[in-house]
Subunit: 350 residues, 2 copies
């Protein structure tokens, strides 16, 4: 039974994530209470009702929709799609498809999430392949990297569509005026990176976006661009290598602290600095990764999302849903593809 | 004029690197003195003689060969190849080609170095494309990653050749018995990573090496394999992103230290822990990146190589030259390619 939902509510997959449902429910309640965003929790009703009762008094703008099945973090996306049609993930996506919610937030199985979003919501008109866009934090701001795993092997026009979608998202949801869009490459000069990269460069250069050229891997965390485009294989590797390197650094420092009491004292005193560092580099704190190219707003948070990360993701999902970005993306892609058939369009301001 | 060189000496490009020639000359003198490795410094004779004089008394096993031209860090590799034929890099490679030195060490322009090594030394028989192999340090050991930038776009048999070469290098030079060789992928299961990756998997699985399957980006710094194979574009991006992320973390912590005097004190007390961390993660300390697939031993150190890093690279170059690995690599590749024409060979121990 679908209850009467608050208009424009954000559907939250309450069963997805390492800390689900506890942290997810807490984050959702905080968003409803502190940010006045109507939220629909989707998941196993009895378990969720118990969690909610423990958090009373509850804001009135929090609702609940039952979904009996749970997607596990290690479930194969295609198995989920075929055999878990009544999961919190599927039911949440259906709420968005049917206009009963304006966006979906999940911290669950990433592969299952974008595959389900694509299957349930369908593709945005004119878009061939979905892209998962991750927010990479940096010392002076953040960079939107896409694709990070939805489309492993890309053709040039996929790069163009990713660039347009990433640019739209950065402008409309992240609030970056005239986002600088770069192409991940080896070296900065045009013509670097082999034949395939040169073709991508040519295509982005005529995509009607603020294309700033090649971005060397060295500059990815240096805010050389607001949006960086790469294929899903490379992007996925970047994301995971970054995470694993960060963990290696932390564990090496912990090791040093154990070996030298003096270093240990120093590191304990500086603990707050590490906490702040972690906050700055943890992309879950930055609102989650949008699945771009599907016909609806869907944000995927990190599996380890805390209540605060869920709250942030809900806030971004609200901006995403309110931005009217889907129509704009579709229009811009239609325009670029049409012009491409006739000749290149020039980018603005150059 | 080529002097009578000590037999088996290591040629060192004295003009290559951000700190050249000062640190390079110091490192070379240390290797000759402390490790008893005969070294030939190649570069602008007058400048080098002045540096050497300042380091007296000199070990007898250090020699000097004049090369008037200098390759700058931002020179285009192809321009170097065409117009700087008398650079320290070219002359050093020629010493190896002509049997006057047993290996070349350079901390200069990476692209120019491998392009020159390939042009001067030629390819090893049966090898189609060169691979640059970087040593990624981890908390519990290191991983050899190849290719990191010499062959940006790969065919399946390039992956096979990289795997065989990387396995030989890890076994013979790095001293890893039966090196575990993995394929960089997204997810660990066979069949992950798209069609192209599946083809690479199939080829590595029948390459007669100790193939351990897919390695997820998350496990790259976790010693899940001793050798990891990927295309040069992905490897180059990984290397540069890792470096840039490390720098971002350090600069963020420095920033925190400025903002909070307490954190600052803690970080100063723990300074030695960071120094040790830096030592463990700085790949220049681990002996430089070999150019595999060329017919001679050539190691490329990090541009920022210190005297100690140069000394280490010379030590590894000596092991490389003494290992007799080139013949073994060529034989193994010939075998694998021949069997491939007739059917798969099985890997050992499975």
């Amino acid at each position: 039974v679908i209850p009467r939902l608050a208009s424009g509510a954000i559907a939250v997959d309450a069963m997805g994530g390492d800390e689900a449902p506890a942290e997810v429910v807490r984050g959702a309640v905080e968003a409803a209470r502190d940010l006045s965003i109507p939220v629909v929790l989707v998941g196993q009703e009895r378990a969720l009702r118990r969690r909610l009762n423990a958090l009373r008094p509850l804001p009135s703008s929090i609702d609940l929709v039952d979904a009996p099945e749970v997607v596990r973090m290690d479930d194969s996306p295609l198995v989920v799609l075929r055999s878990k049609r009544r999961s919190s993930l599927s039911v949440g996506a259906e709420l968005v498809r049917d206009g009963l919610a304006s966006a979906l937030v999940t911290a669950g199985n990433t592969g299952a999430a974008w595959v389900t979003a694509r299957a349930v919501l369908g593709m945005l008109e004119g878009v061939d392949r979905p892209a998962l866009a991750a927010i990479l934090p940096g010392a002076g701001g953040s960079t939107l990297l896409l694709d990070v795993g939805a489309t492993l092997e890309c053709r040039p026009h996929h790069f163009r569509q990713f660039a347009v979608m990433g640019s739209c998202y950065a402008a409309s949801v992240l609030g970056v005026p005239q986002p600088r869009v770069g192409l991940l490459s080896v070296g900065e000069e045009e013509g670097k990176g082999g034949r395939r990269l040169q073709e991508y460069f040519r295509v982005l250069d005529s995509a009607g976006i603020n294309f700033v050229g090649n971005i060397d891997g060295r500059d990815l965390y240096g805010q050389a661009a607001d949006v960086v485009v790469c294929d899903g294989f490379t992007g996925n590797v970047i994301l995971k290598v970054s995470e694993s390197l960060g963990e290696m650094i932390i564990s090496t420092l912990a090791d040093e602290a154990r070996r030298s009491p003096l270093y240990g004292v120093g590191l304990v005193v500086a603990k707050g600095a590490f906490r702040n560092l972690r906050r700055r580099v943890d992309y879950s704190e930055h609102g989650g990764a949008p699945v771009l190219g599907v016909n609806g707003a869907c944000l995927i948070g990190h599996g380890r999302s805390s209540a605060k990360a869920i709250r942030n993701a809900i806030r971004y999902a609200r901006s995403y849903a309110d931005s009217g970005i889907l129509e704009r993306m579709a229009a811009q892609i239609a325009q670029v593809e049409a012009v491409d058939a006739n000749g290149p369009i020039r980018r603005p301001g150059r």
